[in-house]
């Protein structure tokens, strides 16, 4: 899994360009040129654009999960742990996620269900829902899976609304709503 220096640069450049401009809008020639690498190297390392796209999503997924897990682990109070992903979202956006959720955006562009990136997208959402469910169960919520789905909906909506509606207050609003739902479920 260790990438060669060239492959590392390609993946880094591709990640920025895919996220910022969309997948179809960025050609492999651009990625290669911007990485200071020939197109030959790109294909020798990744095999195809589709595979590179999947690797882009995998790499972003890894970073995102680490970010969320760190935010959860930093809390000890069960309720605060369950709501930590909403706090994590605020840092994440502040660090440059102004174009919304990369996975939602990729889903919009990858219409073929068998595209290698689709599985990564699907897994990312399932993972977050499962994390919510685990933490909610730990917080003594009765229907943890059901509430987890509601928190996932709020979470997705927060990032999307923040970007698409250009509404910075969406993140805080989602976090507040999530807290109210959790409190109601524990009462």
């Amino acid at each position: 899994m260790t990438l060669t220096p060239g492959a590392r640069r390609i993946l880094d450049v591709a990640s920025v360009l895919f996220y910022e401009h969309g997948i179809h809008a960025v050609g492999v020639d651009t990625i290669a040129a911007e990485s200071g690498v020939t197109k030959r190297t790109l294909y020798d390392r990744f095999g195809s654009k589709d595979a590179l796209v999947a690797d882009y999503l995998r790499a972003r997924d890894e970073r995102w999960r680490a970010h969320v897990v760190a935010a959860v682990e930093a809390e000890s109070d069960p309720v605060r742990r369950a709501l930590a992903p909403f706090a994590a979202l605020e840092d994440w956006v502040a660090e440059g996620a102004g174009r919304g959720c990369a996975f939602v955006n990729a889903f919009a562009e990858l219409d073929r269900p068998d595209h290698p990136g689709r599985a990564v997208i699907h897994d990312e959402k399932r993972w977050l829902r499962a994390l919510f469910a685990t933490e909610l169960a730990g917080a003594g919520v009765a229907d943890a899976p059901g509430l987890a789905l509601q928190l996932l909906v709020l979470h997705e909506g927060a990032l999307v609304t923040h970007a698409v509606a250009a509404e910075p207050a969406a993140l805080r609003a989602a976090g507040d709503a999530a807290r109210l739902l959790v409190d109601a479920a524990r009462a």
Copy 2:
């Protein structure tokens, strides 16, 4: 605003193809061929692909607003009116919106802020939030604009989660959460 027969067909075909496969993935040649029209006609009627994309979004926006307004007007109870867009979402999805929110998807592909479609997308989200705010105020909610933003987040999240996470229960979960938030705000 009345379209010629050819233009009508082009717009109908483009709407399906753009929504189902994405904007960049569908070429004008395909749209023209599928409409049983020459590319010349397409350009004579719409001027450019960007303009056609904007018209696609405008047309979908119109249908969507009419659908939501009908759902709201069908209710008399103030709370049910405010929550009507969530019910409307279920019909909408059942009628074939399996690829998520067309506006969110388009946002993912249109990276240029000056693209003519971007204004349509932005307006659609602002409109729905304003509708929520109006109905919530009518239902006697104190901070109607604030709660309207939360309902918008739930609404966006519902459609996205339904499609991206392949989770049909997301719609109902969002509606339930919305009702709980509204009830809490009226207590």
